[in-house]
Amino acid sequence: MSNVVNDTRIPNNVDLASDKKLQRALEQWQPKFVDWWVEMGPEGFQKDDVWLRTAISVESDGWAHFDYVKMPEYRWGIFLADQVPNRKIGFGDNLGQPVWQEVPGEHRNTLRRLIVTQGDTEPASVEQQRLLGQTCPSLYDLRNLFQVNVEEGRHLWAMVYLLHSHFGRDGREEAEGLLERRSGNPDKPRILGAFNEPCQNWLSFFMFTFFTDRDGKYQLLALAESGFDPLSRTTRFMLTEEAHHMFVGETGVMRVIERTAQLMKEAGFSGDVRKLGGIDLPTIQKYLNLWFTLSLDLFGGEISSNAAAFFAHGLKGRAHEEKEFDDHVALEGFHAIDVPRDGKLAREDVPMRNAMNEILRDSYVADCQRGVDKWNRVLEAAGIEYRLKLPSRRFHRHIGLYADVSATPTGELIGKEEFTRRRGEWLPDAADEAYVQSLMTKPVYEAGKMANWLAPPARGIKGKAIEFEYVRHEL
């Protein structure tokens, strides 16, 4: 068990005090991070007391502490999951070799890029969500938003720790860069596309935490397999926190659906649910289509030499590599992928290693489907026939094999012109955006109250009542 130090400037379980140089470097970075937080973090709530959990150890029971805290004073710490004794590299060409505690020279640049790309998503999502608090549907949800935000901030810390401790001057420069890029700013955008998309309303937020944070989960699962042990240990602990983010997304969308079902009942199923201020199911489907497909892009190209190299070198594996796969070298098999050729799809066998992005995407899609099934059970229980569906992974893509083709949500290839013409059937158009926005003009700050378009949660947080004042907001 690692020793946790919580009374220093930077809480940690990595014995930071014994490495003065590293400690100084991180202590220099810390004020820049706080400046960034104040500038780009949740706008209008920095002085409020928010009932948040803070990681204080990596013990499975009692790793978190819940209390009121002002966000700029949040104790962002560095926590690595405990070292697994005699851990061996679990896949690729170095299978069975001891894991690396230091970065191997030949993989330094690649690892740095992987870490920077992952790290960049953390502050990006905070930036994307910075205005959402001002239209919150309840204090419960407001608190969840902030919980997600501060933990994304801690995940940034986790990646910055790796950059500072293992990548020298380049690492420190990259750590600065993480605070300099800005989501959606054309001059200094965040690295990945989905993290430059605006996340302007709460339906998008719930979809984002369900779909996009789930991409994060799968990337973390793949990195948790890494032969670079510090990366593996960091990401394993990040996964603990990430689970809550997906809970926020899954239950958030579910509560929207519950409320819609309720309003549909009131409207006698035939009426327009929008007249009662609910979000109609087709609109929910469109937001689902949008965020699912943006998130699919984050996995990268279907056929990828980079992915093959990451796997070969033991840097990034598959999710649950040990449990779910037998062949950890993966030089023998193939993965069948539908490749667009001259307007048609041709099934092609891709060498397994080159298909690693797609294999990770397969696991992700299956996980998304489980959530969607839960949502559909709500509809079923309410006696509604409409079902939500994950669109085809060929639909609305910007990266990979399908970036240059147009497809319907069921995956049929169509002309670009038809896609443009029918886009509004499948993805939120300006009218949908305006409607959803219109439901969320006024924030709900009264404890226990919910906006009209959203059902209350089943229970509060950590034994507290739904009516608990999760955020003490000064008006």
Partner: protein, 562 residues
Amino acid sequence: MDPVRFETLPAAYKHWKLDLSAAEKTGVARLVLDIQEEGGLRPGYVLKLNSYDLGVDLELADAVQRLRFEHPEVCSIVFTSGKDRIFSSGANIYMLGSSTHAFKVNFCKFTNETRLYLEEASAESGIKAIAALNGIASGGGYELALACDEIYLQEDGNSAVSLPECPLLGVLPGTGGLTRLVDKRKIRRDHADVFSTLAEGIRGKRAKEWALVDDVVARSKFVETTTKRAESLAAASPRAQAKGAGIALAPHELTRSSEGGKLVSTYRYVTLSIDPKARVAEVVVRGPDHAPPRTGEELRKLGSTANWALRAWRELDDAILDLRFNHLDVGLLVIKTRGDLEKVREADEALAALVKSGDWLAREIQLLQKRVLKRVDVTSRSLFALIDEGSCFAGSLLELALASDRVYMKDDEDHEDEIRVALSSANFGPMPMGNGLTRLESRFLRTPDQVGKLREQTAPMGTLTTGQASKAGLVTIAPDAIDWDDELRVAIEERASMSPDAMTGMEASLRWGGPETLETKIFGRLSAWQNWIFTRPNATGEKGALTMYGKPESPTFDMRRA
């Protein structure tokens, strides 16, 4: 494999867009790279991420050539990408991986020539080039930028410049990248070392600090800033003062036929015949058949088809490329001329007079002749010039003999008047080789006075007999008329039987004595190393890095240094 053809025109470009919409007003042309992924020259690879093959480079070469002749109003070019986030990722790796060694070498040579011509267009014709890197420029993409006068990199957190060949592919950046880093941009060698081993390249501030780019510009201001810079370069160019219209470059007219086992391409002034069995090619260049243009007006009236000084040399260029790419078995090129010595000299002097009068088009024609001769210099075939009755090796055409590895001149007292060579002003300056010297200067490195003597000797522009030419050091071997046929047969057969690798290396080592230049380093040093690496197992062996790229397995190296 289908033969490669080198002719194209803007309307047929697949991969480049030549945008002249602002040229009249601002002097700026835009060359926008938007590569058709499925538009490769051969099947078997997809040109992803604006990666190129020979077909893309042919269009580039054509575009730069046409801008020079057809658009005097263009004084600067902005190179940029039509794709978001990527400028160019360089030569397509799968194309390289699936190409023969000879094709790779020829491909690199052609792309090198195209980039050197781009630099020549800036230095000699005042067409300045700006690389507006609106996305990642890696490998050959950055090397194209290096061939421009100035490089601007978009600052967007993503765009970077890189030469990933060494760390990623186990080969060199083969289009002059390494040489231009230290020689042209004068980047510190240790910075160049770090840069050339860093696959992901360098972005932003550091790219500027290390002079890898001239400036980094925010995405929102990028187009405006780079366009403005191109406009001010255009305004300052001497070409902005150029008077007189341009001329269109017409397509070649030629017939290809098969005669007695020989493949014959007949142009108006050039005939190339290939004897595949003997592995010998013969090119005959015919001299002028018309009076040369004396005024800018006459020059423009003749255009590209009725002026020997342009047409014959364009045809020769096309024939040389055809030989290089489509007839690999040919080891020896025999160079002959037919025509009137005096008329060649007349054409040279008339052109020189127009150049002297400041006519930009005349200058372009002279520069084109220079480039064609350089193309001959770097052609990896043994070159024998044969001078006999009816030859017209005078002035510019004599340069072809001087470019050859050996010059054979017939010694025949009965026909002394018909077998002569002559010099013109073309031999004394306007057509330097890659080493910066004229072919005469390169020839007489040991006896530099000989160049001056020849100049004096030919001041009244006399002609030289076989004996005189031999004495003057212009001839390698002067066989007697009775031995001529047999001597040549033996010489040619002997040469064609030697190891082609040894001949290529030997000739390349002997052709450029004297000083080193960027150009000689690129062709003599960088290319030689690259061509060696291309044949090594660490690059192209079963487990070599180039072979394994994109494959699931990692490469394995033989770690012994050679």
